[in-house]
Every structure is written in C-alpha cells, then in structure tokens.
C-alpha cells in the first residue's frame, strides 16, 4: 500500500540536514539585514474613545440593509505622558449591520507633529442594526510632520461600539513606527 505524501514534507525529507542548515542560516542573515534595528522602532499604543462629530451616511438595498458613507470621529488619548488628539475619517460599507470599513487616522501631538495612518483590511462584525459592533483591522503609516516626517510602519486596530453606527467607539491602535526623529 502506498501512502499519499504531501509535496512539501517530501521535498524537505529529500534535502540533507546540512543543506537545510545552510538555507536556514542564510535566511536568518537576509532577515537580519532587512529588519530595522529594534532601537529604531517606536511602538505607539493609542487607546481612545471616539465620538462621531459628522456623518454622511446613506441606506440602500432591500429594507435599507446596506449602509455606506462617511463617519468622522474624534477623541483624545494619553500616549507616553502626552495628551494627543485622535481623528478617524471613517468610510463604511455595511450589509446587515457589518462589513468592511476604511479611513484615515490622524494623531495630533501637542508640539504640532502629526502622524497619519491609513486603515486597511478592517471589518466590523455587528448586529443587523449595526449595534454591538466589534472592529478588527490593520493600519499603515501614511506619513507625518515634525518628528514623524520620515515615519513609516504598520500596526493593528481593535475596538468596539455598543450603540448603533454613530455611537461612541472604543478603539485601540498599536503601531510600530520607524524613522521617528
């Protein structure tokens, strides 16, 4: 009886241990060369409560099950001893209460420096009336001003909203930023 074997393990078995060791070593060197020095990375964690200050939303589809448009939310957060402003220009396209969303996050520091993030691959899971929402997604550094003028990096977002769309959003952003002056 011949047992079916998957391609990758078979390939791995066919390589000698010494060959594997060389490959792993070379890979580590390449990764080390590409990775930024950990000392150059600033991890920024922003925990904020965002209130909607402007909305331009439309409902379409059978029974208004699709809601799309803009929601501008603002809040503040304490980051490394400073109080910063947080603005989320959010765009949504929800079907039956949830779905994809995107937007821009602007972090405004007391010295006037800005750090801009783009929300990517974010999703809201909620009840059909958009309440009890949970948010997960990724963020990418768009750019900045002041100490963040050369910033780049990526991060994640997570949050929740108990009320319907337009209600207060509790949101956390964790961003690994390189190039902070």
């Amino acid at each position: 009886m011949v047992r079916p074997t998957r391609g990758v393990p078979r390939l791995v078995r066919s390589l000698r241990r010494s060959t594997l060791a060389v490959l792993v070593g070379a890979g580590s060197l390449v990764l080390a060369a590409c990775d930024p020095d950990p000392a150059d990375i600033t991890v920024i964690t922003v925990e904020t409560s965002l209130s909607s200050t402007y909305r331009n939303l439309h409902k379409v589809g059978a029974n208004g099950r699709v809601v799309y448009g803009w929601n501008d939310l603002e809040g503040t957060a304490r980051v490394d001893g400073e109080t910063i402003g947080v603005q989320l220009l959010g765009n949504v396209e929800y079907v039956d209460g949830g779905g994809p969303f995107g937007g821009f996050v602007t972090l405004s520091y007391p010295d006037g420096a800005l750090l801009a993030l783009r929300v990517t691959e974010a999703t809201s899971i909620a009840k059909t009336d958009t309440s009890d929402a949970r948010f997960e997604g990724l963020v990418r550094v768009v750019g900045g001003t002041g100490r963040f003028v050369d910033a780049s990096g990526r991060g994640v977002l997570s949050g929740r909203r108990n009320d319907e769309l337009g209600g207060v959003v509790e949101m956390t952003y964790v961003v690994r930023v390189e190039g902070v002056r």
Binding site: E93, V142, G144
Partner: protein, 163 residues
C-alpha cells in the same frame, strides 16, 4: 412526442419572456462637472509631498432630459499629486430613487497641465432604492481636473445595469 416537445419549447419561451425584464441591460452614460463642497485634507511627509483625506463633491447630470443629483464622497492618498483614490457615488434620480456606486481600483494620474490630474476607475454597484433596489451591474468612471485638488472635475460615467 411532438406535443410534449411543443409544450417544452413553449414553456421555455414563456420562461425566457418572464425573465427578460430581469436580465435586460440598461446602459446609463452621464457626464457632469463635480464641484468640491467640503474638504478634510491634510498634508504630511517630506516637503508636504503626501496629501490624504476626504473631498466631498457634487454635480447635476442630465439623463434623458431629467436632472440627476450626483454626490461623490472621495478619499485620497496622493504622493506628489497622484496615487490611489476611493469613492462612493450617490446618484439621486427625479423620483428620489438612489443608485449607489463605489470606486474599484481608482487611480489618479498627474496630468500634463500644471496642478491637474486625471482619474480612472471601475465602478461597482453597492445598491439602490426605488427602481434600483434590486439592481446589479458595473461601470467605468473617468475624470479630469485642471486645477489643484478642490477644483472642478469634468467627469464621465458609463454604467451597465440589470434588474
């Protein structure tokens, strides 16, 4: 046997006729000049080379002699004047029916004119109300702005809708 075949053919014909309304494709071509009515834009990066945020634009288009209100909620992330864009179109017809569309793979290109830009995107139907409540389809959008962002955008939209 002949009677059975005739009945099957007749049944098929009736089915096709019954479905024809649902599958009939309508092409909608609109040209309009979008005017920016509100902007929430920020400049960041070296030499303020990156521009991001919202641009809210409106226009009126003519379709079969009827005015259609056009609203575009556009999001931009430009580096040196060009780059990806996203947007949500709301077309409101005279009977208050709404047709909602979203940009797919929208790009802005710097034009030969100083400060200008050209735009190209596919369009996806989000949904609608009234006569468009069950509509499906797709389309294309092209636009040209001769001034800096915030200036009027000469636009053309071609939609193919069914349902």
């Amino acid at each position: 046997m002949r009677r059975m075949l005739a009945a099957l053919l007749l049944g098929g014909l009736v089915s096709l006729v019954a479905c024809s309304d649902d599958t009939e494709q309508t092409e909608i071509v609109l040209t309009f000049d979008l005017e920016s009515i509100e902007r929430r834009l920020q400049r960041v990066g070296p030499d303020d080379s990156i521009l991001y945020g919202w641009n809210h634009l409106r226009a009126t288009a003519d379709y079969d002699g009827e005015p259609i209100a056009v609203e575009l909620q556009a999001g931009v992330e430009y580096t040196n004047g060009a780059g990806p864009c996203d947007g949500l179109f709301t077309l409101t017809f005279p009977d208050e029916s709404i047709l909602a569309l979203a940009f797919v793979d929208c790009q802005s290109y710097t034009a030969s004119e100083v400060s200008g830009a050209r735009f190209a995107s596919r369009l996806r139907i989000i949904g609608g109300t009234g006569e468009f409540v069950d509509v499906r389809g797709s389309g294309e959008y092209t636009g040209e702005r001769r001034e800096e962002i915030g200036g009027a955008v000469r636009s053309r939209m071609v939609l193919r809708v069914t349902g």
